[in-house]
Symmetry: C2
Subunit: 359 residues, 2 copies
C-alpha cells in the first residue's frame, strides 16, 4: 500500500518511520527539497498549489493524508477527485479557520472562550467592548506556534494590535486565566472505530509547545474530553488522528483549538503508549483495527527548539529517547524532541531533572 502525504515535515517523517515496518511505502509532497520526510522516503518537491505536482503525487499512491493542514482547499479538492483523502477536506477546511473551528465547537456544545469575528477597526473596538480585556486578536488563517497573534491588555492596545494584524480576516478571543493546558489525541477509523489516548498536560512558552507530560490522570476531565471529541469525530465523519487542545479552569475544559492530524503533544506515544499516534493514524486511514492507546508508565516529551543537544547528552539519561529531525538549526525552529519514560512519576522527574541539567 502506497501512502501519499501532503507536507514532508517531522510529522511526516515520523509517520513514515511508523509505517515502513508495516510494509507501507510513502511519497511526500513538499515545496522544501530537504524536508525531514525526504530523508526516509521519496519526496516530490512542488508547491502545495502546483497542479502537476499534486497530480503526480496522486498518481503515485493509493490514498492520501497530511502532515500539514494549511493546504489550499482547491488542492485538496483536486486530490480528492483522484484518490481517497483522509481526513476529508471538509474537516481540514474547518481547522484552517479559527472562526469556523470555534463556531463548530460551540455548535457541538464544547465550551470555548468568548469570541467574535473582526474585519475592521470598528469591529475590533466593538468586540473588545463585548468580550472585555484582556483578549487576544488572532488571524483566522495560517497562524501556528503563536504566530499571527496580538495580546490586548488595555484599550490602548486596540490600535497597536490592529496596526499589526489589520487587513486580514481576524478573530478576537477572550483571555482564559487557565490552570493548565491539556490535549486529547483521538483517532477514528474508516470503519467508525474510535480510540482515545490518555490526556496530556502541555506547557507552552512564546506560543510554542515546550513539553508534554502523560498520562494526565483525571477521570472526570478524561471523560469530558472523550465525549467532546467523540461528538467532533462523528459530526465531521472524521478519519485519522484528531487533536484538541483545551484549557482547564475550575475543573472544566475550554476547547482552544484542534489539529486535524498527528500532533506534537502526541509524540510521547512513540515510546510511551502501546501504539503510537503515527501507527494509529495509518491504521485509521487504512481501515485496520486500531491499536491499544494505553500509556506504558509515565512520559515527558520535551521539544528541542532552536538548538539540539548532543546525542551523548541525551543518551546519558536513563529512559531518554532522542528524535532529531535532520533540520537546519534556526532560532524558534522545532529541531527535534526527547521523550523520557519511566515506570513512575518520581523516577520520571529524576530523569527529567538530569536531562535538564545536561542540556
Amino acid at each position: 500500500m502506497r501512502i501519499g502525504v501532503l507536507g514532508g515535515g517531522q510529522l511526516g517523517q515520523m509517520l513514515a518511520l511508523a509505517g515502513l515496518p508495516l510494509g507501507l511505502s510513502f511519497v511526500f509532497l513538499d515545496p522544501i527539497a530537504d524536508s525531514p520526510a525526504g530523508q526516509v522516503a521519496r519526496l516530490l518537491c512542488a508547491e502545495f498549489d502546483d497542479p502537476k505536482g499534486l497530480d503526480q503525487l496522486a498518481a503515485s499512491v493509493d490514498l492520501l493524508t497530511f502532515d500539514f493542514e494549511n493546504v489550499p482547499v482547491e488542492s485538496m479538492a483536486r486530490l480528492a477527485h483522484q484518490r481517497p483523502v483522509y481526513p476529508a477536506p471538509a474537516a481540514l477546511a474547518i481547522a484552517q479557520d479559527r472562526l469556523e473551528e470555534k463556531t463548530c465547537f460551540r455548535r457541538l456544545g464544547l465550551a470555548t472562550a468568548p469570541f467574535m469575528a473582526v474585519n475592521s477597526l470598528a469591529e475590533l473596538t466593538a468586540a473588545v467592548n463585548s468580550i472585555g480585556l484582556p483578549a487576544i486578536l488572532k488571524t483566522r488563517r495560517w497562524g501556528y506556534d503563536g504566530k499571527g497573534q496580538a495580546r490586548l491588555l488595555t484599550q490602548a492596545d486596540i490600535a497597536t494590535a490592529w496596526g499589526q494584524l489589520g487587513g486580514q480576516a481576524l478573530i478576537l478571543e477572550g483571555f482564559v486565566a487557565f490552570e493548565c493546558e491539556v490535549s486529547l489525541i483521538a483517532v477514528r477509523s474508516t470503519t467508525g472505530e474510535t480510540a482515545f489516548y490518555p490526556l496530556v498536560e502541555n506547557t507552552h512558552q512564546d506560543g510554542i509547545l515546550r513539553s508534554s507530560r502523560a498520562p494526565y490522570l483525571n477521570t472526570n476531565l478524561q471523560t469530558q474530553a472523550e465525549n467532546q471529541l467523540r461528538c467532533l469525530l462523528t459530526d465531521l465523519d472524521y478519519v485519522g488522528v484528531l487533536t484538541v487542545e483545551f484549557f482547564v479552569k475550575n475543573g472544566q475544559l475550554i476547547a482552544n483549538e484542534m489539529a486535524p492530524r498527528v500532533h506534537n503533544s502526541g509524540h510521547w506515544t512513540i515510546e510511551g503508549a502501546v501504539t503510537s499516534q503515527f501507527e494509529n493514524h495509518l491504521r485509521a486511514i487504512l481501515g485496520l483495527p486500531l491499536g491499544r492507546t494505553d500509556a506504558i508508565g509515565h512520559s515527558v516529551m520535551i521539544n528541542c527548539i532552536g538548538e539540539l543537544p548532543t546525542l551523548a547528552e541525551v543518551a546519558a539519561v536513563s529512559g531518554a529517547h532522542a528524535h532529531f529531525y535532520g533540520k537546519e538549526a534556526r532560532p524558534g525552529r522545532k529541531l527535534g524532541h526527547i521523550t523520557v519514560t519511566a515506570a513512575d512519576p518520581q523516577a520520571l522527574q529524576a530523569a527529567v531533572d538530569k536531562l535538564s541539567a545536561n542540556l
Copy 2:
C-alpha cells in the same frame, strides 16, 4: 554521523529505522539490489568482495558495521584500513568458523557440547567413536538457519552425512538433549561499558528460529550467562551487540553458537525493552552511554516464514506489532516478524493464542 553497513537485510533495515530518529544516516552495501535496507536508506549494490564497492562504501561514511557476518576477511581488512570497523574483524573471523568459535568458548570456560574437527571420512569415523551418537556434522563456515548440517543417529549415517557435506572443513558436535534453548543479547561500547538484556527463550523448527519469549526469568542462569558473555566481550575487545545461543540442561548453560551482531532473538526489544538492541548497537559503536536494557512487561516475537499474514490479521490482536521487511515471499524465507507485548504472561498468552488463530 554516517554509518556504513555491510549487508542490507532486515537487520540492517531495523538498524536504520532505529538510527534515523537519532539523526544518523546510513549507507548499505549488498549484492542484492532490492535488499530490505534499501527501502529506508541508501544502498550500494556490490559484491562483498568487490574492492571498488568496498572503497566507495568506506569513503561515504564515518564508521562501519555489519548486518551479516559472513563477509570475506580480506574485505573486512580492506575496510578496517580506511575507517573504524565495529565489531573488529578478529571477532567476526571467530564467529565465522564453528571450530574457532567452540574453541574460543572452551578456552574461556564456557561449557559446550563435545566437538571435533573433521576433514576426512576417517576423521569423521574417529570423531563419532570418540563423541558418540547421536551427533551433528556441520560445515565450519557459511552455515545458518540449519543449512549445512546433517544429523547422525546410527553408524550407517556416517557415510550419508559424509556424502552430503564431505569435502568442506567440518565439525562434529555431540547432540545435546536440552530442556530448552535461550539466548543472551549483550552489548559493549567502545568505552568498555557493558549491558545485558534479560535472557530470551527460543523455539526453533527445521533449524530456523520460530519464536522468542522474553524475559526468561531465571536469576541463576541470567547470572551464569552474563558472566560468560562478559568474558567473551572482554577477551575479544568486542564492540557492538553480541548474541550467544545456549542450550539449557540440568540447570546449566551449554554454549551453542554466537552471532557478532544484532540477532533475530532480540527483535522483541524494539517494543519490549526500554532501548532496542538496534539502538544499543548504534550507541555502542558510537561510544555513547548505553540505554536501559530492562524488559517492559512480557513479549513474544514470532517469525513470519515463507508467508506473511495481512496487516489486518495482526492489527486485530491487542498489543501485536507487525514488522514486514518488504521481501519477496519464498518458502523458508524470513519475511517479517510480529512482536506481541502485554503486561503479564497470562494476557500475553491470550494475545498469542488469538494471533495464532488468526494466522
